[in-house]
């Protein structure tokens, strides 16, 4: 499972960076989204994945007896998902606006080099 996740994360990062290097605005956003998902999966993987051991202390004891799943990575991922949702929503609206104002989605044509003497 770890190996599979590691490969998936690698693919997500690679695909994200590849998409960001394209010239299209839409692919730029897709690249950012893939990278963000890759980072979230990475937190999940590095928080040590385990199966069927919830972090709940059984009623009969007062401390953890067995190893338990670490709940923090999931809290982190939830936070990161919410944040990246907001940022990506903003970025998509911005890209749409840029497309309307500039009239192109080619990043090479969007450069404000208006500074010519």
């Amino acid at each position: 499972m770890e190996l599979l996740l590691a490969i998936v994360i690698g693919i997500l990062y690679a695909a994200g960076i590849y998409m960001m290097l394209r010239r299209s605005l839409v692919k730029l956003i897709i690249g950012l989204i893939l990278l963000g998902n890759g980072a979230n999966m990475l937190i999940f993987l590095l928080g040590r994945i385990s199966k069927g051991s919830p972090p709940i202390i059984p009623e009969s004891s007062s401390v953890f007896i067995e190893a338990y799943a670490d709940p923090i990575p999931q809290a982190l991922i939830l936070t990161a998902i919410v944040i990246s949702f907001g940022l990506q929503a903003f970025a998509i609206v911005l890209m749409k606006r840029v497309y309307h104002v500039v009239g192109t989605d080619d990043l090479d044509k969007i450069n404000n080099m208006e500074e010519t003497l």
């Binding site: 960001m20 605005l25 730029l28 950012l32 990278l35 963000g36 890759g38 980072a39 979230n40 990475l42 937190i43 993987l45 590095l46 928080g47 040590r48 923090i72 990575p73 982190l76 936070t79 990161a80 944040i83 907001g86 940022l87 903003f90 970025a91 911005l94 890209m95 606006r97 840029v98 104002v101 500039v102 990043l107 969007i110 450069n111 404000n112 208006e114 500074e115 003497l117």
Partner: protein, 507 residues
């Protein structure tokens, strides 16, 4: 629970919420914004005095004990930064009231400005690395809105750059946090300080440190990662450029200083890298500034160049060097904010940022020109003014550590700053205005504005100039403060003890 540390975050939030109730009522929003900033400044000065004399304060959110909950820490470095943030925030609030167009204010300029200030205060106060990420996101989302508010074509085009680079920096920062959590199993910065030192696989620690360096490096615009800055900071309104130029890159520098002194103590590889990056930032920023003909682009490159001074202080990593870096940070926040406000005034007077279209300010407004001269001289670091003292410490540190390349880079950057400012001065102030008389007469004259508005426009310039004069002439106090910050950074044991040690409720 020690509520006094949270108030620098809560007050701006409350001001922003209050401003939302006055949606569309421009005059009330201006007043609330200015008075609110004044209140935050007053509170932050009180907190500064308390921490400076009484030692650092901590707060555990929700009373979860240190390594498990989110910790807020107010040490001298943090409270100095939030005090400077609120000084710059007040100046920009006042300047915005007179210079931001009412259509922008109608679409929520002031609430977003205060949310940005809240994010900055939070980032300076937090003692938890993931919480730092969250504050960074709050800062960038607020800055995105300020950057694009108004939706002019040039603004939108540069916003693409700005948004994408900042989002990329966030992803890299998040990746670094993921790996750090994987190898150390904690997110509390004080706890990390202990745990990271014990990890045997130093290679993995260095990779994590590099990811943090790239993430913060994009935000603070160091050498190979600065290209987004000069291509975006010249498009938003002057008040926004002032808060961006003064504070946003400095958050990155603050984070670098914090992380690379508390969590990752630079080994020989990292310190060589930091030295090289600092020297190259100084040189490339200076070269960039030299060839610009747009005053704001020139200053954007100077921001990059001057980030190099602070990086140099971090790279040399001695007591003197960090004192210099802390002093430079204090000086730079005030002066950079002030210079962008100055250019905003020039724009209001002559309607342009392009040097070939400017000129004659000294003849037209001699009194204003003298104040502006003080600002520009502070930026260069003409002796009794504020920019001189931190450079003295940095040079001393460079001689102590025998890093002669650094001395060369420091001298070169200082010299080019002088050349650039001299060019700015002769072009804007001394040269007769090259534009034809009929073009100039069409411009709304500065003296035609109501006296009230003129006073409001000039007040922030005077306020920040007074602060930077104090930094220059009261250098003794600032040196004392900076060396205390340097001591804190070099010896984090008090920080760690305050966070992890005794419960703040029962000392």
């Amino acid at each position: 629970m020690n509520i006094s540390i949270v108030l620098p975050v809560l007050l701006p939030l409350m001001i922003a919420i209050l401003l939302l109730f006055f949606w569309g009522r421009i005059q009330s929003q201006k007043w609330i914004s200015i008075l609110g900033s004044l209140a935050v400044l007053g509170y932050n000065i009180w907190l500064f005095a308390k921490v400076y004399s009484g030692g650092l304060l901590t707060m555990q959110a929700g009373n979860w004990e240190a390594p498990f909950g989110i910790t807020l820490v107010a040490d001298v470095f943090s409270v100095t930064m939030i005090m400077l943030t609120s000084i710059a925030g007040l100046a920009v609030s006042i300047f915005s009231a007179a210079s931001i167009s009412s259509s922008r204010i109608r679409f929520g300029y002031f609430p977003i400005l205060h949310l940005l200030l809240m994010g900055l205060n939070g980032a300076f106060l937090t003692g938890d690395i993931f919480n730092l990420y969250v504050w960074f996101e709050i800062i960038i989302i607020a800055s995105f809105v300020l950057m694009t508010l108004g939706s002019e074509k040039s603004q939108l085009e540069s916003a693409v750059n700005y948004v994408v680079m900042n989002l990329l920096a966030s992803v890299i920062f998040l990746t670094a946090i993921a790996i750090l959590y994987g190898i150390a199993g904690t997110l509390n910065m004080a706890d990390l300080s202990i745990k990271v030192a014990q990890i045997e696989n130093r290679g993995l620690v260095n990779v994590t440190a590099l990811l943090f360096f790239v993430g913060f490096g994009i935000k603070s615009a160091v050498f190979p990662l600065y290209f987004w800055l000069p291509s975006s900071y010249h498009t938003p309104p002057s008040a926004v450029a002032a808060i961006f130029g003064g504070l946003l890159t400095k958050v990155g520098v603050y984070a670098l200083l914090r992380v690379f002194t508390l969590i990752f103590i630079p080994d020989s590889f990292l310190s060589t890298l930091l030295l090289a990056v600092a020297a190259l930032t100084l040189v490339t920023g200076a070269f960039g500034a030299l060839i610009q003909s747009n005053a704001r682009k020139m200053l954007s490159y100077l921001i990059v160049c001057h980030i190099g001074f602070m990086m140099a202080g971090l790279a040399m990593y001695t007591d003197t060097a960090l004192t210099g870096a802390a002093f430079y940070l204090i000086h730079d926040i005030i002066v950079k904010t002030n210079v962008f406000i100055l250019l905003g005034l020039v724009f209001i007077i002559y309607g342009s940022f392009k040097l070939p279209e400017l000129g004659g300010l000294y003849a037209d407004y001699p009194k204003l020109a003298i104040v502006m001269a003080l600002v520009l001289f502070s930026l260069v670091g003409i002796p009794p003014l504020s920019g001189f003292w931190p450079k003295l410490f940095l040079f001393e540190a460079a001689f102590e550590t025998e890093s002669y390349i650094m001395i060369g880079a420091l001298i070169f950057a200082s010299f080019i700053t002088l050349v650039v400012i001299a060019k700015l001065w002769s072009e804007i102030f001394w040269k007769p205005n090259p534009r034809k008389v009929d073009v100039l007469q069409k411009l709304p004259s500065f003296m035609d504005l109501s006296l009230n508005k003129r006073v409001v426009l000039i007040t922030p310039l005077i306020l920040l100039t007074a602060v930077s004069l104090y930094i220059g002439f009261g250098a003794e106090n600032i040196v004392k403060l900076s060396s205390q910050i340097a001591n804190e950074l070099l010896d984090p044991s008090a920080y760690i003890k305050a966070v992890l040690g005794t419960n703040p409720q029962t000392p």
